[in-house]
């Protein structure tokens, strides 16, 4: 008897297929990986299982009986649990309260003592340790994930769906997490794990289903495959892993941070402490770290969005203190922000307008406060051509930015920010959510800037990206730089320990 069978599942959103004729079978005690690029339809598929979406057509069998869960409630009651990419935890409640929230077996008055005991037993059995009385908002992301899994186990699920569970974990936490999964597998749980990391699939899964553009392109037994085959299926072509990094950085310093802290606001949870970094001319400095350890603050302090508390920032010898965002841009600080839709673009405006957001006041785009439309349009047409921005439809340069794909939006930002005037490019998660083609393009552009003698700060949660592109790698943890490694010194192991807050000395 199979735990779950999905047959010929189709689902489309406003005419575009997210899933087309997908078949998936999961057995008890099996770890089944779903592999695919962003937008390949993985999350849509599991949302259908979990009752968040309804399939347009196709059949779902749960333990050989037809099942079509209309809501998560029905799915949970049947025995399907899901840990979503964005956790579903109530910040202002305790771990225990989150876990017993709306349980079917709850009496009218909650028996928290009994629940605490049951939870502690369960946590001990699978090595998912977490304090039942801690507030969720006080927990690390890794701990929150444990709570999510405990929540599902507490509800006696038999199938556990994990959507990109390792994206927020350090390599060491990931190893621990995989031990937990192996325990669960031994106990007979079925597990569906979504990921785009080949190494993890090889390490943990029994079978792999690969999706591309909403279609199922392969079903493989993990033991009989290899990462190259997987990526070939996932991407549909071979990947070139070569980046043309010329020579070594120059001696001259382009950007220097001396003991910088951010102006710590009462409500912001993250603060930077005593950051000292240098970026040389012609150098890419990678900033590694688990997300939420001060990456955004660091980028914003340099670009002037957040105020600097103490310390000073020198750009090519010029002190940036007291210079506002526009001033810093004009001095040569360019910014590719991690949230391109809210921090870099005005999505309701069109391509021409977004391309001149930084320079609309200046010649040739404006003279005496009167905008020169022709110049702006000419600029847009040139930049679109040069940076291969594709707008579907007939509007061309008049297309609203919100109608562009993520990759084309990012190209637009790059077209605007990477200009002759730029000295330092702060690139925060520049390839997040992009398909392979766009990712390549962005990386090549950053390397191009480096080779042209500019300084690049590459902030990324993707360790492979950091290691492939950076001349040196600094690791951010809890708002502090806990280590700086050269390209030669850096290994995944070393960086992973630093990302978990273990210092270089302790790591040795």
């Amino acid at each position: 008897m199979s735990l779950l069978q999905m047959k010929h599942i189709c689902k489309s959103f406003s005419g575009v297929y997210a899933n087309k004729d997908i078949n998936l079978t999961v057995e008890k005690g099996e770890i089944h990986a779903l592999l695919g690029e962003n937008g390949a339809g993985k999350t849509t598929l599991v949302n259908i299982i979990f009752g968040l979406y309804t399939a347009d057509s196709g059949e779902i069998l749960w333990k050989d009986k037809p099942a079509d869960f209309a809501s998560p409630r029905e799915a949970i009651e049947a025995g399907v649990g899901m840990v979503q990419q964005h956790f579903s935890l109530v910040n202002k409640m305790t771990v225990l309260d989150n876990i017993i929230l709306n349980l079917k077996g709850n009496s009218f008055f909650l028996d928290r003592a009994d629940a605490r005991k049951k939870l502690t037993d369960l946590a001990g059995k699978y090595g998912l340790y977490v304090n039942p009385d801690a507030m969720i908002s006080d927990l690390s992301v890794g701990e929150q994930q444990r709570v999510e899994i405990l929540k599902a186990l507490y509800r006696n699920v038999e199938l556990l769906i994990l959507d990109e569970p390792t994206g927020v974990l350090t390599p060491q936490e990931t190893t621990q997490f995989f031990d937990v999964l192996r325990n669960l597998k031994k106990e007979g749980y079925g597990i569906i794990i979504i990921t785009h990391r080949m190494s993890e699939i090889m390490a943990i899964s029994d079978k792999v289903t690969i999706l591309r553009d909403g279609k199922q392109v392969a079903d493989l037994v993990t033991a009989d495959t290899n990462p190259e085959e997987l990526s070939a299926y996932m991407i549909g072509r071979e990947l070139s892993d070569d980046y043309h990094i010329e020579g070594s950085p120059k001696k001259e310093v382009m950007l220097e941070l001396k003991n910088v802290s951010n102006h710590h606001r009462r409500h912001s949870r993250h603060k930077l402490e005593n950051i000292s970094l240098t970026i040389h001319k012609g150098e890419i400095l990678g900033i590694a770290g688990v997300e939420g350890n001060g990456q955004k603050e660091l980028a914003e302090v340099i670009t002037g969005i957040q105020k600097t508390g103490e310390g000073e920032i020198l750009l090519d010898g010029q002190n940036l203190a007291g210079i506002n965002i526009r001033g810093r841009y004009e001095a040569g600080v360019s910014y590719i922000s991690e949230d391109r839709q809210s921090d870099s673009l005005i999505t309701g405006m069109n391509i021409t307008e977004n391309l001149v957001l930084r320079e609309y006041r200046k010649l040739p785009f404006a003279r005496h406060s009167i905008v020169n439309k022709a110049a702006i349009r000419k600029n847009a047409a040139e930049k679109m051509e040069q940076y291969q921005v594709r707008a579907s439809g007939k509007s061309g340069i008049d297309t609203p930015v919100k109608l562009l794909s993520g990759g084309n939006q990012q190209k637009l930002i790059i077209a605007r920010e990477l200009n002759d005037n730029a000295k330092v490019i702060v690139a925060s998660q520049p390839t997040r959510g992009l398909d392979i083609g766009a990712t390549e393009f962005v990386r090549q552009q950053l390397i191009g800037q480096r080779n042209a003698g500019k300084g690049v700060m590459l902030i990324s949660a993707d360790l492979e990206e950091i290691m492939a592109l950076s001349d040196r790698i600094a690791v951010l943890f809890g708002g502090k730089i806990v280590g700086v490694l050269t390209r030669e010194e850096a290994t995944v192991q070393k960086i992973g320990l630093l990302m978990g807050g273990i210092s270089e000395e302790e790591a040795r």
């Binding site: 968040l52 910040n91 989150n98 929230l101």
Partner: protein, 313 residues
């Protein structure tokens, strides 16, 4: 004059007045607490209370029965809250805009209906609910008269406050209702029907807010006048925030406001040489100062006044 103020009889009467002035706020406040804990901000509380006041008067006037009046007042409040529910839960409109619109609408509607009903002439007062002294407790000096020589609606309120507190602290359902206001997506994936729960809190919001308005008519004044809530709905909103979304916190905040109001009335009657207009500001100024003191300590439900669309992030 100070002697006058610090005499036992003055203080006793002052406290009694404070409680009496606070009770309508507390009914509005408890209804609003329940709604906001599940994520619905009803700025239209002013309109809910006004509707409660008018319909309780009309009900009591035509039926000659105070309980019938109370029931009409509750239903009057209910209809207004359901309108807000329709706009904010089903039609996913901006809750602040909806609430403000409701306040303006109800001011017009109740004034218009009252004109129709009274034909332009004034009304006589109706009877009001009598005070029921609780034997023993009401004899306690100073506070006995204030808290235990009241009408039955005040006693009902005490019970409601305790039940609400127990509900959110100790019960399974209470946890679910709070989760709906903190993180509706999480609640939904725990199998809680967010919209249904929000409709339930809007029903309670309307019934309780309706009592708050009715209290002014059926206990205190015995008569309806245009715009008689005159800002109490907004003060009720403030007591919820000041009370940090807990029933007893709200109780304390409302009492503070009632006391400030009672004090300024008393100061006016004993002829303190401060302009009565300045004195009238006292309760509002005090509320503002208290709010400043509570600033930064964020206990607001995270999903408060955010529209919930199932499946959306």
């Amino acid at each position: 004059m100070l002697q006058q103020i610090f005499s036992l009889s003055f203080m006793t009467a002052f406290l009694a007045a404070a409680v009496r002035l606070a009770v309508p706020l507390m009914y509005g406040g408890i209804g609003e607490t329940i709604a906001e804990k599940s994520g619905i901000l009803n700025i239209g509380m002013e309109g809910v209370m006004l509707s409660g006041a008018f319909f309780s008067f009309a009900g009591a006037w035509y039926s000659g029965n105070l309980f019938a009046g109370l029931l009409c007042g509750m239903l009057g409040g209910l209809v207004v809250s359901l309108l807000h529910g329709l706009l904010s839960i089903t039609l996913i409109q901006n809750q602040s805009v909806s609430g403000l619109a409701i306040n303006m609408l109800m001011l017009g509607v109740t004034s218009f209906l009252f004109k129709l009903m009274s034909n332009g002439q004034g009304y006589q007062q109706i009877e009001t609910f009598p005070n029921l002294a609780i034997p023993g407790l009401s004899r306690i000096p100073l506070i006995g008269d204030a808290f235990f020589n009241c009408d039955f609606l005040t006693y009902t309120l005490y019970v409601l406050l305790i039940l609400t507190w127990i509900f959110y602290k100790k019960t399974n359902l209470g946890l679910s209702f709070a989760a709906v206001g903190e993180h509706p997506q999480a609640a939904e994936s725990a199998g809680i029907q967010v919209k249904k729960y929000r409709w339930i809190v809007m029903v309670l919001n309307g019934l309780l807010g309706g009592i708050g308005g009715a209290y002014l008519v059926l206990v205190q004044l015995g008569v309806f006048t245009e715009n008689m809530i005159s800002g109490r709905g907004y003060i009720a909103l403030a007591t919820v925030i000041l009370g940090r979304y807990s029933p007893f916190g709200m109780f304390g905040a409302a009492l503070l406001f009632g006391a400030a109001n009672a004090l300024q009335i008393r100061l006016q009657t004993i002829g303190v040489s401060i302009s009565p207009f300045l004195l009238a500001i006292l309760p509002y100024a005090l509320t503002l100062i208290a709010m400043l003191g509570a600033a930064g300590k964020n206990s607001e439900p995270e999903a408060l006044s955010k529209p919930y669309i199932k499946g959306a992030r």
